[in-house]
């Protein structure tokens, strides 16, 4: 009985950790511009597929990952320079639509360059699962959780302790005021896209051993990741992680104890409830109060 519960919990953590890491990627750009970057999924995809492609060239995994992350950062900066910057006076909704267009474009390029097949990224520390109390846990989930935790702490420090981080927050709160005190808002935005791509591609490589990777993996992952981010409170790193893990655990428990038919229905009902009573999400309140 207990081993079953433990198994469902582990499954939920595995799924949830994936959502959480994806959700984190949405926070930086949202903080900088209140734009929800729908090309975030493509950064994940570049992380995973880039690693596969560079490893295919015979580059060791560690360096392949670094190259893939660099590639994603370049794409992120290019996206801001070539698509977002020219429309700098447009309102947020227009910018969001631009990111949707960009995501379709990047996906198309990836499909042509890297093909349409699914690929495997080897787990960071072997295929052997961890056995605990009659349940098994995918060792890669621990990597996902660990990297998620590091990123959350890094994000909190970045936004509260560094000048650039504060400049990013300032830009999102009042662009004009930020400009008046000497913040180069376009530079800040470019930086935000680059960082967000970095975060997204790291997440993409880390979850790829669990989910596999393909040119269109971004759509699948980003949808649930976005839901997790919205539930946790857009813009909050901690919220993204709590939202993701909550979503994953609820899904797994529903699949285990009620029926796998209803797991998405239960998960989405829970999100509706959360957003109904806390429209800013679980951890979204504080950021808004500061405005």
């Amino acid at each position: 009985m207990f081993s079953e519960f433990l198994q469902y919990l582990f499954t939920g953590i595995t799924i949830g950790a994936t959502y959480a890491l994806v959700a984190l990627g949405f926070t930086i750009i949202y903080n900088a511009s209140h734009v929800i970057n729908f090309a975030q999924g493509e950064f994940l995809m570049i992380g995973g597929m880039g690693t596969v492609a560079f490893m295919g060239l015979g580059i060791p995994m560690f360096f392949a990952i670094i190259l893939a992350v660099l590639l994603a950062c370049l794409v992120g900066i290019a996206l801001q320079r070539l698509a977002i910057a020219p429309a700098k006076n447009a309102d947020v909704v227009t910018l969001i639509i631009i990111t949707i267009g960009a995501s379709i474009f990047i996906r198309g390029i990836a499909q042509v360059v890297w093909g349409k097949d699914y690929h495997v990224v080897p787990p960071f520390s072997g295929d052997e699962p961890i056995r605990l109390g009659g349940a098994v846990l995918n060792s890669q989930s621990l990597w996902v959780l660990g990297i998620g935790a590091v990123l959350v702490i890094a994000l909190i420090l970045f936004f509260t302790r560094t000048l650039i981080g504060r400049a990013i927050l300032g830009t999102s709160m009042n662009k004009l005021a930020a400009q008046l005190v000497g913040v180069k808002t376009q530079m800040v935005l470019m930086l935000a896209f680059g960082l967000s791509a970095l975060l997204g591609s790291v997440a993409g490589v880390t979850v790829a051993p669990i989910t596999f990777t393909a040119y269109d993996i971004g759509i699948l992952l980003a949808l649930k990741g976005f839901v997790a981010a919205a539930m946790g409170g857009l813009g909050s790193g901690l919220g993204a992680v709590v939202g993701g893990i909550l979503l994953g655990v609820v899904e797994a428990m529903t699949a285990g104890y009620i029926s796998s038919e209803y797991k998405d229905a239960v998960a989405f009902s829970m999100i509706l409830l959360v957003l109904f009573f806390m429209p800013r999400g679980l951890f979204g309140g504080r950021t808004v109060e500061r405005v």
């Binding site: 198994q7 939920g12 097949d117 669990i210 699949a255």
Partner: protein, 385 residues
């Protein structure tokens, strides 16, 4: 002098023009084969090898002199896996391209969207999609190549019965393929004396199915587990299954019968069984297998031409095209009604997918036995006798 030479040049030009016109009028008018396939988009793993196969064999047939002394002309559109595009393209093939026969429709959705147009225009249509609804009930002008999911379910249940299993756990994807496979399995299980005691599902974007598998494992009396689905989902199920150390025989559907699946699932796939087209094991088919020759030559030619491995789906396009060619040759004309009648009369055509015996009440012509039961051994497919 200048005037004369100009005149002469004009004369030569006119003569050349006239000759070229005459020649093109003499050359036989091509037989138009229309196609709409999901070459890009989510079903591109179907449409891509299908189009490559059609292009390659149309070219080859033309080099060898065409059909009825006329060259083949392939007119194809990419429906991107979208049924309403498929319907539009089917209409364009019929009305503006005026094709003689249609070979296409990578997915069941695309096929079914085109069926009403095809029936109305009275043009023979050979579909490359799976579901049993395409030919059941029989539609006058619609034929199909692949075995239905019902046959796959029957073949798996037959093998389970043979190994003496009578209670199984079912896990299936909620996508069209998995959902339909689940329905067919539930519908035919009792005919084989098998009871489905656990029935679990997973979504197309799910990244872990351990919870569902734990439920199946904890169900009393389960003898074997069957997964019906395609895409990356079944590979994740396979990995989770191995991680959980479930010591029960494991079956997958024909939806993952490809080498790509073996790459994804890796060691976890060891020992699982599935029904598949013989195209996966061209070199280990026994000498007396009637399909051996056609399967081996298709596999070889495809690899030589495209430099990639063959897939089951390209094989459907091969058979679709060859069935069309055979019917046109037998009819001796491209008259649509005559070709349709000949398609229905095809008996004993040995294809890559199976041996086709069409009949007025069977527009597929295959039996469940055309599926071979394969087992994964040492990371490769092995034929189970």
């Amino acid at each position: 002098m200048a005037k004369k030479s100009l005149l002469r040049r004009a004369g030569v030009l006119a003569a050349t023009l006239a000759t070229s016109l005459l020649v093109s009028a003499q050359a036989a008018e091509p037989i138009k084969i229309g196609s709409f396939l999901s070459v890009t988009g989510p079903a591109s793993f179907l449409g891509d090898p299908e189009l490559k196969t059609l292009e390659m064999y149309v070219e080859k047939i033309n080099e060898e002199g065409g059909v009825l002394g006329r060259p083949l002309e392939l007119i194809h559109y990419d429906d991107v896996g979208n049924a309403s595009n498929a319907r539009n393209f089917a209409g364009r093939l019929i009305r503006s391209d005026r094709v003689d026969i249609i070979v296409g429709g990578s997915t069941t959705g695309a096929t079914m969207a085109a069926v009403p147009l095809v029936e109305q225009a009275r043009i023979p249509f050979i579909s490359l999609a799976g579901a049993v609804t395409i030919v059941d009930p029989v539609k006058e002008w619609v034929f199909k190549v692949p075995q239905s999911d019902r046959m796959a379910a029957e073949r798996i249940l037959w093998d389970m019965r043979r190994r003496g299993f009578d209670k199984i756990g079912l896990i299936s994807g909620t996508g069209g393929f998995g959902a339909s496979g689940r329905q067919q399995t539930l519908a035919v299980a009792s005919e084989y004396g098998i009871e489905v005691v656990a029935d679990e599902t997973y979504g197309p974007s799910d990244s872990d199915m351990t919870a569902q598998l734990t439920n199946i494992r904890n169900t009393d009396g389960v003898d074997a587990i069957l997964n019906f689905g395609f895409g990356q989902g079944p590979a994740i199920v396979t990995k989770n299954y191995a991680a959980l150390d479930i010591n029960l025989p494991f079956y997958q559907s024909h939806g993952v019968a490809s080498d790509a699946f073996l790459d994804l699932a890796g060691d976890a796939a060891e020992g699982l069984r599935l029904p598949a087209s013989p195209i996966l094991i061209p070199s280990s088919l026994p000498d007396d297998d009637p399909q051996r020759e056609v399967v081996q030559s298709y596999a070889q030619e495809y690899r030589d031409h495209w430099g990639t491995r063959v897939s089951t789906f390209g094989g459907y396009a091969y058979d679709g095209l060859m069935l069309a060619v055979q019917a046109i040759e037998a009819a001796g004309t491209t008259d649509k009604a005559a070709v349709r009648d000949e398609l229905e009369n095809i008996l004993g055509y040995v294809g890559v997918t199976g041996i086709f015996n069409m009949a007025p009440d069977d527009h597929n012509g295959l039996t469940p036995e055309s599926f071979r039961i394969l087992e994964v051994k040492d990371g490769d497919w092995m034929l189970v006798e």
